[in-house]
């Protein structure tokens, strides 16, 4: 019952519905306010002068009829019915001076809401009835179109040019790379040295004992690394055994 389909057959904006159809037709209402507005229009007086009480009666009767016919009634219609029943009782019962807002105030609010909705509905109809572009009035069918042509004004300075050439030439100058010789012990040297020194030593010996005697820290590092790899290689071949209690603990080696 949301009635909110975008393109239905309705194009006038001004609802004209027959009173005798109301009791049978609960579809097609755009909410309780829409129903109320249509009922109000049936009073055939200015919305500002309608009888709210009569309108409430009509709405409640309509809902009652719908219930009798076991029509499905959306919740918001029932909420409105409850509120209208409350408003009716307030309007009929002896006046409670404390009531704020007063029943008259509530009735006026309802009236204003109906007027607003009605005004917007009429405004919509009047908009649709105007001379509309593409329906009643037309733009030029085949405009040539306007074009903006961008022209780039390229900018560069003489210095940029010269500096660029300088850097190109500098790039293409043959470059000389001098690699400084560093003291290293190759893996082959370490393998030969460890294999020779281990002989048939059966006692556990720390790997450091296999390093050459040197003051050169870099060379010592290189020798240690190569000797370690050499020890691993010899262990793989089953020539030596390795033992270490834990990570970073001294590494011991002996002949297998």
């Amino acid at each position: 019952m949301d009635g909110d389909d975008i393109f239905d057959e309705f194009d006038s904006g001004a609802p004209v519905r027959e009173a005798d159809r109301l009791t049978l037709d609960l579809d097609g209402w755009e909410g309780p306010l829409d129903l109320l507005l249509t009922l109000a229009r049936n009073q055939k007086v200015d919305l500002a002068k309608i009888s709210i009480l009569a309108l409430v009666e009509q709405y409640l009767a309509f809902i009652a009829d719908a219930k009798k016919l076991k029509l499905e009634i959306a919740a918001d219609y029932l909420v409105m019915a409850a509120w209208l029943a409350y408003l009716k009782s307030c309007l009929l019962l002896p006046r409670d001076q404390e009531a704020d807002p007063s029943p008259e105030e509530l009735a006026m609010r309802l009236q204003l809401r109906l007027q607003r909705l009605s005004a917007m509905r009429e405004a919509g109809a009047r908009l649709l009835g105007r001379d509309r572009l593409g329906r009643d009035v037309f733009l030029r069918g085949a405009p040539e179109g306007l074009r903006v042509v961008r022209r780039s004004l390229w900018q560069a300075e003489l210095y940029d040019l010269i500096a660029a050439y300088g850097s190109v030439r500098a790039r293409s100058e043959p470059a000389f790379h001098v690699v400084a010789r560093r003291p290293v012990m190759t893996l082959e040297e370490a393998l030969a040295r460890v294999e020779r020194m281990i002989g048939t030593r059966l006692e556990w010996t720390r790997i450091e004992a296999f390093l050459p005697d040197t003051q050169d820290g870099e060379f010592r590092k290189s020798a240690l690394a190569s000797s370690f790899v050499a020890a691993l290689e010899l262990a793989r071949k089953g020539r030596v055994e390795l033992d270490q209690k834990g990570a970073f603990e001294p590494l011991f080696i002996r002949a297998a």
Binding site: F7, Q115, M120, L128, R130, L139
Partner: protein, 194 residues
């Protein structure tokens, strides 16, 4: 210096060639700064007055269009424009007369929720655009109409909306007080407890 006749001709040509309505600034960008665009527009509008084509201003943009009374001749060569749903028409009217409005305010006036599709259709038509957010709790998105809306419905500006002054005078366009539109839910809850 371009003479008046050449100015007129230039503005006329630009507006004829344009694919969209053009502001005076848009026109000036094409015809050059030496042309008095406003004067040319005024003279062109009066020249075309009463002809089969007329020059109109819509939301500070100008375009040529066929005269409305000739619609009967031209209509047959066009597809009927798609019909708008009642929900879409009402929503459009509410936005146009109240802008900028939030969705909740539109719903308060119509008394029903609007489906997402309704606003989408109006935006797709190019008549409605999001116009920022209301500085209020929840910072709701607010909607307003576009120059294309004015162009489509033949309005020079929003002041030309039919019946605008009367509606204003009757207080029917006052800011929507959501609390008031609720009809007082507190009372309703009381009523339901009976």
């Amino acid at each position: 210096m371009i003479g008046m006749d050449d100015s007129l001709r230039a503005v006329e040509a630009v507006l004829f060639a344009a694919e969209e309505p053009m502001s005076a600034d848009d026109i000036a960008a094409h015809v050059g700064p030496e042309v008095d665009v406003a004067a040319a527009l005024a003279e062109l509008a009066s020249h075309y007055d009463g002809r089969g084509i007329e020059l109109v201003e819509r939301g500070r943009r100008w375009h040529f269009q066929t005269a409305p009374d000739l619609a009967f001749i031209l209509r047959r060569q066009r597809d009927e424009t798609r019909k708008l749903s009642r929900a879409a028409v009402e929503t459009l009217a509410i936005i146009a007369y109240h802008e900028p409005v939030s969705r909740a305010e539109i719903e308060a006036i119509r008394g029903v929720q609007i489906s997402k599709g309704t606003l989408d259709v109006l935006m797709e038509a190019g008549w409605v655009r999001p116009a920022g957010r209301r500085e209020a709790p929840g910072r709701p998105l607010i909607y307003a109409t576009t120059p294309a809306f004015l162009a489509h419905f033949g309005l020079e500006s929003r002041r030309d909306l039919p019946g605008l002054d009367d509606l204003k005078a009757a207080g029917l366009l006052d800011p929507i007080d959501a609390a008031m539109e609720q009809l007082g839910l507190a009372e309703l809850e009381e009523a339901e407890e009976e």
